[in-house]
Amino acid sequence: MDIVDLQRVTKDYELGQTKVHALRGIDLQIKEGEFISIAGASGSGKSTLLNLIGGLDSPTSGVIKINGTSINNLSEGELNRLRLQTIGFIFQSFNLIPVLNVYENIELPLLIMKAVSPQERKERINHFIAAVGLSGQVKQKPYELSGGQRQRVAVARALVTKPRIVLADEPTANLDSKTGLEIIDLMHHINRLEGTTFIFSTHDAKIMQRADRVILLEDGTIKPDNSERNEERR
């Protein structure tokens, strides 16, 4: 079964008098454990697509299924639970809480996961801190870290709830190319190790080459001409 299934999804925005068609009838199926890049120029609809998959926004039409369940009509509480338990987010600007240290930032989503015991919480945090290579920076605040390190914290925070999908919106956009590749490699490593599905957006050719499959977006539609190269990647 596909972990993500989009059927004829459209998304329109009203910008004053103008109607912007951000996504035009997207059909997309993603299998569990895939490492996927959504590529395209700025304004092609990458972020909109990720926001819809993450339940942060709702489509104008079409159906979005996560793990076989349509999320179109979920209540706000159900969407919160979906984001907490099934989906992890990594943002372009890291979006760490500045007053919290590395450990506490990673701990944040676990504060509202009642099913996780304090002992397990501690183990999970330490596991992911080690996985992203920040064992020496546990007590440091975000402003004391480099951009790459901050994004590693964001990766750990996204993974600590053990989500089945991680959505990363331009996770390397604020990093230099070397650090960006390191972050993508780290995500890929975790993808192989934990089996977590990663969907990230980028417009950087080097970054998208690291993906198992690249979805090319252009003016809100998926370009069909990259299936052959995707097969090669697989």
């Binding site: 972020s47 926001n51 993450g54 942060l56 926004d57 706000e76 509480g77 919160n80 639970r81 984001r83 907490l84 338990q85 992890g88 987010f89 943002f91 372009q92 600007s93 979006n95 809480i97 500045p98 007053v99 919290l100 506490e104 701990e107 944040l108 989503p109 504060l111 509202i112 925070r157 709830t161 919106d169 331009e170």
Partner: protein
Amino acid sequence: MRWSALAWKNLSGGWRRALSVGSFTFLAGFFMVCFICFIDSVKTNMETAVINALSGEIRLAPMGAEEEDIFSLSGSWEDTKYLTKEQINSAERILKEKINSVETVKRVRHNVLLISDTSETGGMILGIEPHATAYRKVLSLSAGRYIENDYEVILTETQAEALEVGVGDVLGVLAQTKAGYNVDNALTVVGIGSVDLLNLFGYNVAYTDLRSAGELMGLAEGEATDVILYTGDPQQITEVKTLLATALTGQQVAVTTWRQTGGFIMGGLHFLSILYYSFTVILLFIIGVLLINIISMILLERREEIGTLRAIGFGRWRIAWLFLLEIALLTAFFCLLGVGAGSGLVLFLGRKTLEVPPPINYLTGKSFRLIYNPVRVLPVIGIICGVTLAVAFFPVCRAAKVKPVELLQEKN
């Protein structure tokens, strides 16, 4: 990490923001404590003045006397009610047997015309037994002494000035008896002074001896318009009043406490309470409006954080709760500081008697001592915290309600 720890970290991390909210709650706590203590002190001092100068703690008066307000006088002189000798004897017997009061004073209140060689002025006289001491605690003499003998009078400064008399001068006094006859008398001015704390209410009463006032009213020996008594213990007043009222059942004697005195002096005291509550409401309203704006600004600054929390699965109520927890901690801390600082100032100033210049001394008296009452001060913390949380609730809920995608798009 606990929620309270998260809230505390947010507060300490954004201490400038915290300080802007905290400074208002500090000032609210500080000013409310100072103001409540000032008003409480003024009110308590005035109540003491009313009790000592006018109403006593408990008053025995003829049934049906329209003297809830001791100043009021309706109807003709013939209608003036007074206690008979039998009623007073009966009351004195009960007081002697059952109640160990500190001081019991028979009084005659009457309206007269005071006449000097050069002028005349109307006014109220209050005839009291020479052994009375309570009035001396609040009647400040600027010259002379208190009443010790018959045919003596203490004038207020206003009366002495109007009549152009001083201590040692003899005044003519013209009055109408309860039977409607004119009567005159001669009283020697032995003192000049007034009850400072009641000046605000135009309290312009000349104190004289019981015998003179009784003659002017046409009362026989042993009769009086009322009897006042002091228990010496404010906690006992109600109990003693009930006991007296029961014992005097059927005697046509009304027993009231000073709280039932009524009239415009008590109305004035109530006005002080209303003034306090009005000030408090206005202060809290202003602070509330300012806090709504500051909290809204703070929440605007933290929209990215709210968006991130919403994205990672925090519900809107969870976020609202977190922000309200921060505000509660912040308000409680700064409010305690403000209340502590205000209490410290009041306790420091309360250690000495302050000489107060006019026109404030109309409220405070010439000498004023601040009274600190923790029972009245402590609720201030609850009120300020409650108001702050109430005004924060709307902007916090509004901020937490915004769609996460909108907040994240603003950043990116």
